[in-house]
């Protein structure tokens, strides 16, 4: 993969696993995420995904609850 | 000034753990060393906040062994001292309870019982540490075990516990369980003057002071730093406190130490018979203590509705045991069946059986699953099944 290849990410949330801690929101370098008013079935407020994900996967890496994951889509594929 | 910081007379709604802590402060406790463990931690936390306010010392140890040995050290230095823990912690403190007994150091140990053994269920109450409280150390040691069953009693018996510890110079145990420790209830605090506070008798400096005199049950206490040049040892020792290996000295020391409790049993024993009036004959006597006794009280009404005349015999002090009194009640109420109800799989039961040998009566046992308090209805149904 060339370092200049444009990459974007599609963010998925397993809402049952999310505890609404906001780490993903805090760590995302592109401010792709923000907390929503939606609560999951355990009563936790969960984040919402906005546009602009570059697929860096920081949110996935630092989510303590395995609740968020990112599909990396390479330009053109 | 310190006195001003104590809980004011009045009526409160507080937890059993808080009531114990506030009573301890009123009783004169000025040292607390502990180690966190559910469901006793909030008692410790309360002391962490409150002790400095009354000029006392709080320290959290690196473990329970440290905590109880710090308590003994502080007591040796003359302070009224206390710790609180739950089952796993009590297991770790047993060796030091024996030392406190041997060195004649007053101390109060609160065990807020939870489900055991091992880690069990930390957040739920039980009555599984009863026999451990009485018999948990190696060697022969006596202890006084208090078992309050409500917030008011948690307060009152804590005062008693400190008084007993000071008067007899030995460690005593207060057994709560999660339901009483964390449960809220009414507490009426009288004027401080109306509360009897006992301080250990202190020795005067005299030539030839014998720290472990054997012709008095409880020798006066010698404080360090006053010139007594006292030696205390956990080895069997003579009247001077010197280690000895000698039959008579051993017998003298150990019997004197044990007699502190045994010879004072009549004063120490405490119990309730419920209902206290209106009944002169009971087919069934239920023996229960602590929080379970409260549920029994409520269940009695239901039993009555089923035509069963039953009374509750509730030790407030589990040890020394009100065994003679239990037999007296059996006899005076013409009891035909004794029913022991405990939230464990049979502990105090054995001591009740031993007591009943003096007034042989059939007995039954109702075991309540540790952690899961039954409602009065559930309990009365269990009782009915056992009786039928």
């Amino acid at each position: 993969m060339s370092p200049t290849a444009k990459v974007r990410g599609v963010v998925h949330l397993i809402s049952d696993l999310c505890k609404g801690c906001g780490i993903c929101v805090w760590i995302c370098p592109r401010n792709v995420l923000e907390m929503s008013d939606k609560v999951n079935r355990f009563g936790w407020r969960i984040p919402r995904v906005k546009n602009g994900c570059v697929g860096c996967k920081l949110c996935e890496t630092y989510c303590p609850d395995l609740a968020i994951w990112v599909e990396v889509v390479r330009n053109g594929t | 000034m310190e006195r001003e910081k104590l809980l004011k007379p009045g009526t409160y709604f507080m937890t059993g753990n808080t009531a114990v802590a506030e009573a301890a402060l009123i009783a004169g406790c000025r040292f607390f060393a502990g180690y966190p463990i559910t469901p006793s931690s909030d008692l410790m936390e309360h002391m962490a906040r409150r002790l400095p306010q009354v000029g006392g010392i709080f320290i959290q140890g690196e473990d329970e062994v440290a905590a109880i040995n710090m308590v003994l050290g502080a007591s040796a230095a003359g302070l009224k001292a206390m710790t609180a823990t739950s089952g796993p912690g009590l297991s770790l403190m047993e060796e030091a309870l024996g030392l406190g007994f041997m060195l004649e150091l007053p101390a109060v140990v609160v065990d807020v019982q939870r489900v055991g053994p091992a880690t069990g269920i930390p957040t739920l109450g039980a009555q599984g540490d009863v026999m451990q409280a009485i018999w948990g150390s190696h060697g022969d040691r006596e202890v006084v075990v208090y078992a309050p069953s409500n917030v008011q009693e948690a307060f009152d018996l804590t005062i008693d516990a400190f008084n007993t510890a000071e008067e007899l110079r030995l460690p005593v145990i207060i057994l709560l369980d999660e339901l009483i420790g964390h449960g809220y209830g009414r507490l009426r605090v009288p004027n401080l003057d109306e509360i009897r506070i006992v301080d250990r008798k202190k020795a005067d400096i005299v030539e030839g002071y014998m720290p472990f005199k054997t012709h008095v049950l409880v020798p006066p206490f010698a404080e360090p730093g006053k010139g007594f040049r006292l030696h205390m040892t956990g080895l069997v020792h003579d009247e001077r406190g010197y280690p000895v290996i000698d039959r008579d000295a051993t017998e003298r020391l150990l019997t004197r130490l044990l007699l502190k409790v045994r010879a004072n049993r009549d004063r120490l024993v405490s119990y309730e018979v419920y209902p206290c009036d209106g009944i002169d004959k009971a087919e069934v006597m239920i023996v229960a203590y602590g929080s379970i006794a409260n549920i029994v009280k409520c269940a009695l009404k239901r039993l009555k509705a089923h035509g069963i005349k039953a009374i509750l015999f509730r030790p407030k002090v589990l040890w020394p045991m009100p065994d003679v009194e239990l037999c007296k009640s059996v006899e005076s109420y013409g009891v035909e069946n004794v029913l022991v109800v405990e939230m464990n799989y049979g502990q105090y039961l054995y001591l009740v059986r031993a007591a009943l040998l003096h007034c042989p009566t059939p007995y039954r046992f109702v075991s309540i699953t540790p952690g899961f308090y039954p409602s009065p209805k559930e309990l009365s149904e269990r009782i009915l099944r056992v009786l039928s």
């Binding site: 505890k19 355990f42 009563g43 936790w44 | 009526t11 409160y12 709604f13 957040t123 069953s149 409500n150 917030v151 339901l179 964390h182 449960g183 809220y184 209830g185 009414r186 419920y274 209902p275 929080s291 409260n294 549920i295 009280k297 409520c298 308090y373 039954p374 409602s375 009065p376 209805k377």
Partner: protein, 182 residues
């Protein structure tokens, strides 16, 4: 003897509400026994307070056979606990979040505690005070002034907001009648 259960989510101030009620009954001279329980999870989850109020001196048991009143602020707790309410008993539920089922012989009373709290005190977190006030006046068992006194004594943060919420709840409760005998 009456038994009341207050239950809801961890952040709903259940224990505080229960302490206020328990203290008030205590001040009225009753024997009050109260038990607090939590869901097993470390944080989040639910909490619950069971209060038994008795006029008999020797009774200190917080565990009742059945509930006279259930005060509830989450659907999950409602579903789990409504069956404990006795025939002839009451459910007071937060009507924004709880959708009650039809239950024979149990009177179910809605109150939008969270919304009211937000309105009068600026935040939903004072919903618990609304509920206390509501129960007090509906049952007629505790005067408002006593509740206010207790709240002051407990030394709560944001006393003013709590008092506001309390009062609005009390007001709402005046139009409702809960019949309880201690």
């Amino acid at each position: 003897m009456i038994s009341i259960r207050i239950t809801g989510a961890g952040g709903h101030g259940i224990v505080f509400a229960a302490r206020v009620l328990g203290s008030a009954f205590t001040k009225r001279g009753f024997n009050v026994a109260m038990r607090i329980s939590y869901s097993p999870a470390q944080r989040g989850g639910w909490s619950r307070a069971d209060i038994v109020i008795s006029s008999e001196e020797a009774i200190w048991n917080p565990i009742a056979d059945e509930l006279d009143v259930l005060i509830v602020t989450t659907q999950e707790r409602y579903d789990a606990e409504v069956r404990d309410v006795r025939h002839g008993g009451y459910v007071i539920y937060e009507s924004e979040v709880v959708k009650p089922r039809d239950i024979e012989g149990v009177e179910q009373i809605p109150i939008e505690a969270f919304k009211l709290a937000e309105m009068v005190a600026g935040s939903r977190i004072f919903g618990n005070s609304v509920l206390i006030g509501f129960f007090a006046s509906a049952s007629g068992l505790i005067p408002l002034s006593l509740l206010e006194e207790v709240m002051r004594e407990l030394g709560v943060k944001a006393l003013d907001s709590n008092l506001k919420a309390l009062r609005v709840g009390f007001e709402r409760g005046l139009s409702v009648k809960i019949h309880l005998r201690i």
